[in-house]
């Protein structure tokens, strides 16, 4: 399938993501420049990690208004697959494509390391090849990863099973000690109601080769490829530029 990875000024995991897609998974992956509006017919857009626009004002606040995002928002609203990793997750929240927001880590420190994550739902195109309750190990690296939402939104997220990943300990329990940033309900990743937009703070693209310490990230990428192959999500980015 055809993937597009967006590069904003300050993105720094764009090449890593494209590398995994092309060289580890053998997929067709194109780079999408923030100033362009053409999504080049991709079938899944990835907003990568990094520090878009220097994280000025709020993380993701400026990137959300870049020209490419107009097309990404239209693509998402038409049902296209959009996946935000770390800074990409922040951009999706700022753009209103995902509920809630990501604020400064409760401990005020930048956190960097491996975390355990419990997979809460396989009913998304991003997790169909995983097992519910499965514990994945992925790296995190962020200063603003504390997921917050108002109580009503939070309740709706839980009811609709929109929480995709939760920070847990090695045995799969969502304890306070396993929560690296203070996220409400230990939330590490969510999907929108339509389940075509996914955001998470951990980095699957940095856990996609054994030599880098693990391959759990591939399960998410392979889920998308499988969902696409099975025909569940055949929408391509045919959204006219600028709409």
């Amino acid at each position: 399938m055809r993937w597009g990875v967006v590069t904003f000024p300050g993105s720094n995991d764009d090449h890593d993501t494209q590398y995994v897609l092309e060289h580890v998974l053998g997929e067709d992956a194109v780079s999408l420049w923030h100033k362009d509006r053409d999504l080049q017919g991709v079938e899944c857009v990835v907003l990568p990690g990094g520090f878009s626009y220097g994280d000025y004002l709020r993380c993701g606040a400026m990137a959300r208004f870049s020209p490419i995002m107009e097309s990404v928002i239209a693509f998402a609203r038409a049902g296209g697959l959009v996946w935000g990793i770390c800074n990409g997750f922040q951009v999706l929240c700022e753009a209103g494509l995902l509920p809630g927001a990501l604020i400064r880590n409760r401990g005020l420190r930048f956190v960097c390391g491996q975390v355990h994550l419990r997979l809460e739902t396989t009913d998304t195109p991003f997790t169909g090849r995983c097992a519910r309750g499965e514990v994945l190990t992925l790296p995190i690296k962020h200063g603003e990863g504390c997921y917050v939402a108002d109580p009503v939104t939070l309740e709706r997220l839980e009811e609709n099973r929109q929480v995709v990943l939760r920070y847990v300990d090695a045995s799969g329990r969502a304890t306070a000690g396993a929560n690296p940033n203070g996220s409400l309900n230990n939330i590490a990743g969510v999907v929108n109601e339509q389940r075509n937009v996914f955001g998470l703070m951990p980095h699957p693209e940095h856990a996609s080769e054994k030599v880098l310490g693990g391959e759990d990230g591939l399960k998410l990428f392979r889920s998308v490829i499988a969902a696409h192959r099975e025909g569940g999500d055949r929408r391509t980015a045919a959204v006219a530029p600028g709409h």
């Binding site: 709020r58 604020i103 880590n105 409760r106 401990g107 917050v148 108002d150």
Partner: protein
């Protein structure tokens, strides 16, 4: 025309920076300091607008970009 925008964390939203500063104030001998919140202050000049239009435009800027309504509150003043 000058606009001064004050952005603060919404009530009920975790404010770890405010908490940390409050702890430091207590440690420094200011036990009377409470409800410390850290926000942002934005100043900007507006040209060719009367006061009511300047209010309207500043409010629109806040809602569209300067403030994230999910986590922040804001207020502003306009000086001629």
């Amino acid at each position: 025309m000058r606009a001064r925008v004050y952005i603060t964390p919404k009530k009920g939203v975790l404010d770890p920076q405010g908490k940390a500063v409050e702890h430091s104030l207590h440690a420094l001998g200011f036990p009377e300091a409470h409800d410390v919140h850290l926000g942002k202050y934005v100043e900007l000049s507006l040209e060719g607008l009367d006061v009511s239009r300047a209010r309207e435009r500043t409010d629109a800027m806040c809602r569209q970009l300067l403030v994230n309504g999910v986590i922040e509150d804001y207020r502003f003043e306009i000086d001629e």
